[in-house]
């Protein structure tokens, strides 16, 4: 075990995979000389050279598409898109091409490409630079979408994503890069398609992913002291979605709240709530509630941005309402 930041875990994993497999290459804007907008690739250009760590022009559609073609010939490109907001420039290549090829061409080709990209608001980057659009990719067959919440999961899932033969959208989050956690040493290959119960509890289940998991855990631990036993499920993988782990937890606790950073309507939480009401209907004592971002282009002003984004206080409030609605006595 080593204590590491999420950033360091990503960096070390990229380095390990570059060493481990010659066909792994990195592409993206400013990943080389600039060492990455968020410094994930620091030092990799000087260690591996410009052929394996390739700075690209500002052409997301072009270089993501180029990564797809390289992957079709057996390379394992890991592309960095500076933020998920810019992935819209490449989404035709990702969704209409990478996600389609294996099935549409009858299994003759696969696209072992990883797209690393951070989402998230809260940095006062305003409406166009603060989005959480992972639900779009999670909706698309042929894609795999993972959203690690901790440095350890970042390492394990990035390793799995790079070694996987399908296109994987690897969701990071601006607010996670500096967070720390214990990371197991040596090779760790995570399981794409599996969620995890990251805290056991009896009274209520909070389902979350990526950055929001840390808030869910913080709240869970706080409520523990008030005599409420909250279980926390980290989805880890948005596509495939591990419905069974989610429903199994709710069948046990009979209460559920989703905490998500994206907009409420048609967001990730909608699928989770829909899944629970179908998969644990007879066990639910109250409606599944969703704590999500206000539905407005995120304003720059701190006062408005803070009001629009979900917080620990919001989660505590909603958990309280669910408990009250079910006459839970502390």
């Amino acid at each position: 075990m080593t204590m590491q930041t999420y950033r360091q875990a990503l960096h070390d994993t990229l380095r390990t995979e570059l060493l481990h497999d010659e066909s792994v290459i990195l592409l993206g804007e400013e990943i080389g000389i600039f060492e990455g907008s968020y410094k994930i690739t620091a030092g990799l250009l000087s260690e591996f050279g410009p052929a394996r760590v390739r700075d690209t022009p500002i052409s997301e559609g072009g270089f993501v598409g180029a990564a797809i073609g390289a992957a079709m010939l057996g390379m394992r490109p890991v592309v960095e898109i500076m933020t998920i907001n810019f992935s819209l420039q490449a989404i035709d290549q990702i969704v209409n091409h990478a996600a389609k090829m294996h099935a549409m061409f009858g299994g003759q080709v696969s696209v072992p490409m990883v797209i690393r990209t951070p989402g998230g608001g809260g940095q006062q980057l305003a409406a166009t630079h603060s989005q959480n659009l992972e639900v779009w990719y999670a909706h698309v067959p042929g894609m795999k979408v993972v959203a690690p919440a901790t440095p350890a999961d970042a390492k394990a899932l990035l390793t799995a994503a790079i070694r996987d033969d399908d296109p994987v959208l690897f969701l990071e989050n601006l607010a996670l890069y500096n967070t720390k956690g214990e990371v197991p040493d040596g090779e760790q290959v995570g399981q794409i398609g599996a969620a995890a119960v990251v805290k056991q509890g009896r009274d209520l289940t909070v389902i979350s992913y990526s950055r929001a998991v840390s808030i869910a855990l913080e709240v869970a631990n706080q409520l523990e002291r008030d005599g409420v036993s909250v279980e926390v499920v980290d989805l880890r993988s948005l596509r495939p979605l591990d419905r069974e782990t989610v429903c199994a937890s709710v069948r046990k606790t009979s209460r559920a709240v989703v905490l998500e950073d994206d907009w409420l309507s048609y967001g990730v939480g909608a699928e989770i709530a829909a899944t629970i009401q179908e998969g644990a209907f007879d066990y639910l004592d109250a409606p599944v509630r969703r704590v999500a971002a206000a539905e407005i282009p995120l304003p720059y002003a701190k006062s408005l941005e803070t009001a629009a984004l979900p917080t620990a206080a919001d989660l505590v409030k909603v958990i309280g309402e669910v408990l009250d609605a079910t006459r839970f006595t502390r």
Binding site: A66, Q93, F105, G106, Q191
Partner: protein, 360 residues
Amino acid sequence: MTDPHAGVAATAVRQPEPPQIWRDYYQQMSLIRAFELRAAEMYQRAKIGGYCHLNVGEEATVVGLMAALAPRDYLFTTYREHGYALARGMEAGRVMAELFGKSTGVSGGRGGSMHLFDQRLRMLGGYGIVGGQIPPATGAALALTYRGEPGPNAEAVMCLLGDGTTNIGSFHESLNLAALWHLPIVYVIVNNGLGMATTVEHASAEPDLYKRGCSYRMDGVRVDGNDVIAVRDAAREALTRARVEHKPTILEAVSQRLRGHSVVDPARYRTAAETERLRSHDPVHMVRARLIDDGVLDEDSARRIDESAEAQVNAAVAFAEESPDPDVATLFEYAYATPVPNTPHRLPADPVIAGGMAGS
């Protein structure tokens, strides 16, 4: 109207082609023509669904390009690619079976007319999204730079696109990358004068499309797409530059679409006179007549070639007819290349969680 000869580099006097080469090219052109006309017929008879775009009128371009492309090279095409598939060596039966949506089709019936693919022949797909093939083709060329040194025996990529496709962003982004990174690729613009009903002049502010590499310092050449030898030789030159110098090229083949945009398009936007003019330049008829003039063929041998093309297409249709539809049990077969847990294998009426319904 694009002049097929404007901007064409005057090529040195040609060696006469051996008769066998000419016969081979004519056989291919005749097969493509017969295949396409039959495909149109099969579409009318509802054996083929979706969209169906034909190479009728582009046979000389198709055959010339495929004659230049080596087996070791990679090919990316558009949705108008039946002829390329045949000339690249796919069996007519398996191509027709793909159009019929049969399990024996080159893409297992999953892709259809717009998505012909053969890993063995390094034809990495037909693509239905305009410009969609350009970035992946460019990336395939990038992959080649990791494989081996430049040289006459190196591999290269050929990427086809239409005239209308030069106006989409992926064209710009990809050509810039190819020039910047010195990639071994040839971008072939098949200029048939139209994107659906839109003329080149109506769509491209620089209608001399071979010049559009200027923004990337990329050389461009234009050839008469009805001249199979000129097309082949220009493509060979460009491929050699790609192999030896890792320099990308634009090759514009001025060709023509004798039918509508797709089988269902009556092309009413074209005047009778225009249609007449095009017919009089039918590349298949022109080559046939020329070979008879030159004594390479006589009426009999030419007819025999056409008949054997017909026979191949008959056999292709029979094969497609007899082939089975894909089994519904295989619907999820290619969901992922690397299987992972919880992959949804759910039919429309199934519950989200197997094990059925709770209820009170």
